[in-house]
């Protein structure tokens, strides 16, 4: 288990993290979401020993991370960084050696990863001569080349074209299948939803939601049912117990069901009006969940007042 436990960090009076904690199981992928400046990068840098937490710790296999165990983590910083004048192959070899591989193993691993990420022909090029997309691949290769036990990637998908996104996603899924816990941050929530076993949403220095996307949906207060009844008169559902109408437009009705309300009673009421062309629980997208989760409580209250 990779455990982030009660991380606190402040710079002067500015509290960046106020008790951030989550767990990532081996072989699972954790999507780390949050608005800009929410503290994702700081959390990852604390894990890598690049920033010191005021309180809390990060553990791998039950032990706090130290210099030695960090060497077995593959890391991709938000600010990409490579030696611009060093050749791709040498650079990967160097990073592999810094992670503890001996010279021969490092050279083999560098060659292998350059090949797997489609950089085989650019092995002898200097990094500064590569396109941005290819530099990104080198950066990823630098994180993977040491066969890490854990992957921590800060915004790995930013700046990639769709083909690059797919290649990276495949590489990460493969690492996952190999039993590596993967943590990555991203603003591309569709990707997070597609790839991740669990998601954590960070807002104002706290985890406001963690769990699988499914769990987050279930946790969402109330459940929304969409029913399309073309022949119904307006207000047809108002009488069903525990149901409030969110919106109604020419029979296309969104209903909010309170805890314990019977969806079958709604269906019966709908059938009484005539034809039912659509009846389904509406799946909240991660984007909606995210908006809900990160919304400032003060602002949310204000919005509800306006609505009322």
């Amino acid at each position: 288990m990779l455990e982030f436990d009660g991380l606190h960090k402040s710079y002067g009076d500015h509290h960046v993290l106020e008790g951030v904690g989550f767990t990532v199981a081996p072989g699972s992928m954790f999507g780390f979401c949050g608005s800009n400046g929410a503290g994702k990068t700081t959390t990852m840098r604390i894990a890598m020993g690049l920033a010191r937490a005021d309180a809390g710790e990060v553990r791998w296999r039950g032990r706090p991370l130290d210099e030695e165990s960090r060497r077995r983590i593959g890391y991709m910083p938000e600010e990409r960084g490579l030696y611009p004048k060093m050749r791709v192959g040498e650079q990967l070899t160097y990073f592999a050696r810094l992670h503890g591989l001996d010279a021969a193993a490092a050279a083999r691993a560098a060659e292998e990863w350059a090949g797997r990420l489609g950089l085989g022909e650019r092995r002898r090029s200097r990094v500064e001569e590569l396109s941005l997309g290819n530099q990104q691949r080198v950066q990823l290769a630098a994180a993977l080349v040491s066969r890490p036990e854990v992957l921590i990637l800060d915004e790995p998908f930013s700046g990639l074209d769709p083909v690059g996104v797919d290649a990276l996603a495949d590489a990460l899924l493969e690492q996952c299948r190999g039993g590596v816990p993967v943590v990555f941050s991203s603003h591309q929530l569709d990707l997070v939803e597609r790839l991740c076993d669990s998601v954590g949403i960070l807002a104002r220095g706290r985890m406001v939601a963690t769990g699988t996307v499914e769990e987050l949906r279930r946790r969402e207060s109330g459940r929304v049912l969409r029913v399309v009844v073309p022949d119904a008169a307006p207000g047809w559902a108002g009488a069903v117990p525990g149901v409030s109408v969110v919106s109604e437009q020419a029979g296309d009705t969104l209903l909010d069901l309170a805890e314990g309300a019977d969806d079958q009673a709604v269906l019966a009421a709908a059938l009484r009006t005539g034809r039912v062309t659509h009846f389904a629980w509406r799946q909240a997208t991660l984007v909606e969940l995210f908006r809900e989760a990160v919304a400032d409580p003060a602002q949310q209250a204000a919005r509800q007042e306006v609505a009322a």
Binding site: R52, E68, R70, R71, P77, G81, L98, G100, D102, R147
Partner: protein, 393 residues
Amino acid sequence: MSAPLSSGQLVRLVAAREVSTRLRDKTFLVSSAVMLLIILGILVFQAVVNSGSDENRIGVVGDPGALGPALEAQGELLGRDVTVVGLDDDVAARTAVEDEDVDAAVLGATGGAPELLVRESDPTVEGLVSGAVGAVALQRVLTEAGVDPGGLPQLTVTALDESSAAAGQRTAVALVGVVLLYSLIVLFGQFVAQGVVEEKASRVVELLLATMRPWHLLAGKILGLGALGLAQIALIAVIGVGGALAFDVVDVPGDLIGTVGWVLFWFVLGYALFASLFAVAASLVSRQEDLGSVLTPATLVLFVGFVVAIQAAGDPDGTAAVVTSFVPGLSPMVMPVRQAAGDVAAWEVAVAVVLMLVAIALVVRLGGRVYSGALLRTSGKTKLKEALRAGRA
């Protein structure tokens, strides 16, 4: 799969990368080659100048007889190697002088009106020949008069400042050494500083610090480039000393080697101090353009030391030279010149070395803290105080 790495291994990995990067850097290779060529050029020039002035071929028409040895003896007095060449007649003498086969030719050497043939007037050769001719004539007259020339008073020479010539030569070697030491400290100090900024500017430092501590990175960089710098100055020293001995530019090989050894020793101390200072200063900025301004103070100290060292060659026991030869930062340039040119007691050298070591220890301790505090602040310039505070946290 991966074995734990010791600090030593990490430092070595960093150092090896620095060395291999520099060894493939064309600018570095060209500048090294130019430096070697300059040293070789100086040696060849010295050798040519020396041989040109130290040797004379003097032609004598007819049998030189007693004049031959007299010319050689006279030459010895004037510090020149004289070779006497026999010539058949006046015509042959003229041709030999015109062809520069000989520097001068003596006609009618044994007669009453000897004549000296030269291409252009050369007072040394003229004095040499006229002295020889005069000596031979005097001897003949004396012998004819029945006086024993051995009874004439002989001049005995006593040199009061026996060591001055050797000291002069040592000073010259020390000066060349200090010029080299200064240039190489500046060059390799710049390499260290540029390397630090390159890592900050390209943000690769974050990836590096995820695997090692700041001091590993700093030590590896300084040791790697330092080894390269030492190798370069040692190579120049070996070629220089070898060349000087081969071309006979110096007279006292022992002195030469001793002086070169001290220059190498002071290079190591000077480099250790200035490379650390440069690295720490460089860690405060994140763009190569800002490097100049933060390096200026340390560069100035280095330059002052250099200027004082040059002056110390003329006045090794002057107050300025004596005082600065103890000041850390200045001593690596002034002390070797004083050691070569003047009288320096062993305790003086020891004090200067200890002071220098203390300074290095201080810079490494405090500087290491600044360096680790400033390294991850990759935006703009970091203030020294902030870096110190961050380094302590």
